[in-house]
Amino acid sequence: MQAAVGSPADAPTAPVLSIGAVIKRFGPLTVLDHCSLDVAESEIVTLLGPSGCGKTTLLRCVAGFWKPDGGEILIDGADMVRAPVNRRPVGVVFQSYALFPHLTVAQNVGYGLKVRGMRRAETARRVDAALQTVSLTGFEDRYPAQLSGGQQQRVAIARVLVLEPRVLLLDEPFNALDAKLRGNMQVELRQLIKRLGMTAIFVTHDQEEALTMSDRIAVMRDGRIEQVAPAEDVFDRPASAYVADFIGSSNFLETYAEGGRAALPDGQSVPTELSGPVRVMARPHNLQLTPGEGGPWRGTIVFHRAVGALTEYHVKAADGVTVRAVAMRQGETRTIAEGTPVSLAILEPAHCAVYEA
């Protein structure tokens, strides 16, 4: 995580990729609305958002498949908007991999080198090296249709790695893989990109994938970038209620703020600059349940289920709002039965975020 950069201004060197106020319209629809993002050397930034938020559009603008209607895209300070697709130092790994079905694995990986007119011996040497990097030695003469999904993905990665692009663009590369393989490939791919010291932009709608893969996450909403921050920050200090809601599960508590503090239902309070009606976001793991009616914030367990080593509780509070809490199941701690009256408390008020109502 050393490569993580808090904000572009803190970066010691100029960003490799600089996206400035990019606009993209399709007819009357504005798909990208002044998107700005800087990516530093050897950094992996994820564009995260629901489908239709413009994340793939932004990626395709950087790759050059689509021309933005406004704004600038710079790589190492050089303008990319007017650069033709095939002259940009970017490598794209497509969602469907887009391997050439009529070429063997070696021919697919060597395609870009052949385009550049590289000599045969040198091409073969680099293809071998690239296939070794993705552990596909021995598959040179197979056709893509003869490979599994995971192997096809690795060919797609080797095909762009061999060209040593300045920026690697990955468009939901795990979508076509089954869940178990996906988890392994995520860790493997992150380690590979880090080992090669590559700068990458990664597109996904899966928050877990984003948390696994990235140094920084850019959460997108309706063509705008809502927050860019290191993975932990996006989760712990979401910049808006939207981000909080999108990443991880969250409880929103309607309350009131005055004199620089927002009141919490359990009697505690959190500091805030807002005043008037506010919404306080508390993560489920920040809520503590105690059987009995000891505290000021009471409720009843209406549902519980085991999620791995944790138990998730749905508690219907006295004011009618249902909140979610999780607790570790360990040692003597027993699962609290449904219908049990409990009192709720916030463990760390400082970890709550306050938003305008």
Binding site: V92, F94, F100, H102, Y111, G112, A145, V160
Partner: protein, 310 residues
């Protein structure tokens, strides 16, 4: 007696149901049986009769065959006659050049279909299919008007000042070739469009992303992947133009002899069915040889599809 009749009826109904069941839901060759039966009746049997005429000496009396004895004379006569060789050579070169020109003019149209917007695609499809709605004879006559001494082409060339007197185009090899290419162009374009509409454009994006120009992508990605369509189009255009009769007959002005017009003359004017039969056989065999060659060459370029199941 009544029992037997009843049982026979039941058997017949059983057979009918069994046959219907086989035809509708049978495996293997069964669903093709009706088509095979029709083909046997309308194509194979008449052709067998025709062939038998080519390999026998027949004596015709009052419009009926009275004796028929096996003989290879017609075939050996045909093969030693230089008229056959020049005629079939002419047919072959005409068909192959029609095929090549159709591919040359048809492929860009198909490429435009691939890269075009939905409206361009619709327009191309309409333009390709519209000519098929008129008869080939009408279109051939249209060419007579266009290419004639006072036709559009000659008038235009004279107006520009390129020539002083009208060129003689109609009744030449060139008129036949122009007509053939125009008539058969849709048959080439349609299979190409079929392949193009299934083409994954992300492959073109990937190719561009890897540094390839549009031309390089066309040569190394789009062209090889459209090989099946090229093969189908070439096979169709070749077969149709190798065996065509109308275009050479009309645009060649009666003095352009290709295989089909020769067979027509042998059968209609010379009333020599044996000669016509042998010519048909040669036409069919040579056509098949070229079709097999086209199939083999196409296979060479689509080897990658074979590994699918592995």
């Amino acid at each position: 007696m009544a029992d037997a009749a009843l049982r026979g009826h039941a058997d017949r109904q059983g057979f009918g149901e069994w046959l219907l069941d086989k035809l509708v839901s049978g495996r293997g060759i069964w669903p093709a049986v009706p088509a095979i039966v029709v083909l046997m009746v309308v194509a194979v049997i008449p052709f067998a009769i025709l062939l038998s005429l080519g390999f026998s000496d027949i004596v015709v009396s009052r419009g009926a065959i009275v004796s028929q004895t096996f003989s290879l004379d017609h075939l050996t006569n045909a093969l030693s006659d230089s008229l056959y060789w020049t005629t079939f050579y002419r047919s072959m070169t005409l068909a192959l050049s029609t095929m090549a020109l159709c591919l040359l003019f048809g492929y860009p149209a198909a490429y435009l279909f691939l890269i075009g917007s939905p409206w361009v695609r619709r327009l191309i499809l309409i333009l390709v299919i519209a000519p098929l709605l008129t008869s080939g004879i009408v279109r051939t006559y249209a060419w007579l008007v266009i290419l004639g001494g006072r036709g559009v082409v000659n008038s235009a060339l004279i107006d520009i000042g390129l020539i002083e007197r009208p060129l003689r185009i109609v009744n030449t090899h060139w008129a036949v070739l122009i007509g053939m290419v125009q008539i058969h162009l849709p048959v080439m374009i349609l299979p190409l469009i079929a392949v193009m509409s299934r083409h994954d454009r992300r492959l073109d994006e990937a190719s561009a992303n890897l540094g390839a120009s549009r031309l390089y992508t066309l040569r190394k990605v789009i062209l090889p992947l459209s090989a099946p369509g090229i093969g189908t189009g070439c096979a169709l255009v070749f077969t149709l133009s190798y065996t065509t009769f109308v275009v050479p007959q009309l645009l060649g002005g009666g003095n352009y002899l290709n295989a089909a017009t020769m067979i027509y003359e042998q059968v209609i004017f010379s009333l020599d069915w044996s000669k016509g039969s042998v010519s048909s056989l040669i036409l069919m065999v040579t056509c098949l040889i070229v079709l097999v060659a086209i199939a083999l060459i196409t296979n060479l370029f689509t080897r990658w599809t074979k590994g699918r199941e592995a």
